[in-house]
């Protein structure tokens, strides 16, 4: 990448990427009772990294978020989601029954809030991880593939 011609892009994206990331978490933590949620947040978060990769090159993005980490992130997301389900089983509820996550006084909704936030966090991890993995799988392919490498 010829950096001289991209000064403006680099400066602007340096400003934008932190904002995008923060916005992702804003969308996530408001997704509980307003439009938004883990899915959208995950996409926005991944877009922040992908923008970084587009401007600064895939190798530096790979240094920032290694491909293995992205894959692990996706797996962690699913693990978190399914794990909350099992946690609810231990609490005596049905699979994924948020109310059973922990004891709380009658009429309280803390367990439900926690459940939704955790589930959505799982979705965020899963979506962000898989978006990045897909992106790396295609973008990182040109230089380093040998025919055996899949």
């Amino acid at each position: 990448m010829n950096s001289d011609h991209h000064v403006i892009l680099r400066v602007v994206s340096k400003l934008l990427i932190p904002l995008i990331t923060i916005f992702a978490f804003y969308v996530h933590f408001h997704g509980e009772y307003s439009p938004g949620g883990g899915f959208q947040a995950g996409v926005i978060f991944a877009v922040g990294i992908i923008l970084y990769a587009l401007i600064f090159g895939v190798p530096s993005a790979l240094r920032l978020v290694p491909a293995g980490f992205a894959r692990g992130l996706a797996a962690t997301g699913v693990l978190l989601y399914a794990g909350v389900g099992v946690w609810a089983l231990f609490g005596g509820g049905n699979y994924l029954e948020y109310n059973a996550l922990f004891e709380e006084p009658e009429g309280g909704h803390a367990a439900q809030h926690t459940g939704i936030i955790l589930i959505e966090l799982g979705v965020l991890f899963g979506v962000a991880g898989s978006m990045l993995t897909i992106f790396y799988a295609f973008a990182g392919r040109v230089a380093e593939i040998s025919d055996e490498d899949w």
């Binding site: 307003s34 899915f39 909704h109 897909i134 799988a137 295609f138 392919r141 025919d147 899949w150």
Partner: protein, 164 residues
């Protein structure tokens, strides 16, 4: 007649998209184009669900105005009804002030879009690999290469058997 056609405008669009997608999927030789056709086909189905969910005069299914206060009292049960989703129009018979579109198809289609994206990603990855293995992404060329190789093997087989 014209009214009947006009009143079902969304269906005409869906049918047109669906047929376009199917035609491309079957007709195109280029593997990428086949995936494009597949995506168009899937998208037409998404559109079908989304137009199903529209309730005449309904707004986006987010509580607003006086409905919020009503909901706040028994957020628990109501959230259940909203999340689980009955097929009925959300505004009808639930004592809400405003009419809302049915949110359930949107949720379903969000899931279906994720499925579609995953399929597309796997499909594109396969096309990349086919390009590397065969040097082409035209399905007729791939088939021709396969047939050539198979014929060569077939010629080879009796020779091997005869050699013993």
């Amino acid at each position: 007649m014209l009214e009947i056609i006009a009143a079902r405008g969304n269906y005409w669009i869906i049918i047109a998209l669906m047929m376009t997608g199917l035609y491309i999927t079957f007709e195109a030789n280029n593997l990428i184009k086949r995936l494009v056709g597949l995506s168009v086909f899937q998208t037409s189905v998404f559109l079908f669900y989304i137009t199903l969910s529209k309730v005449a005069g309904g707004t986006a299914p987010i509580l607003m105005g006086g409905d919020i206060k009503k909901k706040a009292k028994h957020a628990g049960e109501e959230a259940g009804a909203a999340a689980g989703g009955q097929g009925e129009a959300a505004g009808a018979g639930t004592g809400l002030e405003n009419v809302y579109s049915n949110p359930l198809p949107h949720v379903l289609i969000l899931t279906a879009i994720v499925v579609g994206v995953s399929t597309l990603a796997v499909g594109l990855a396969l096309v990349v690999r086919i390009r590397e293995a065969y040097g082409t992404i035209e399905s007729d060329e791939v088939r021709a290469i396969d047939i050539d190789v198979a014929l060569a093997e077939e010629m080879d087989a009796p020779a091997r058997e005869g050699a013993q």
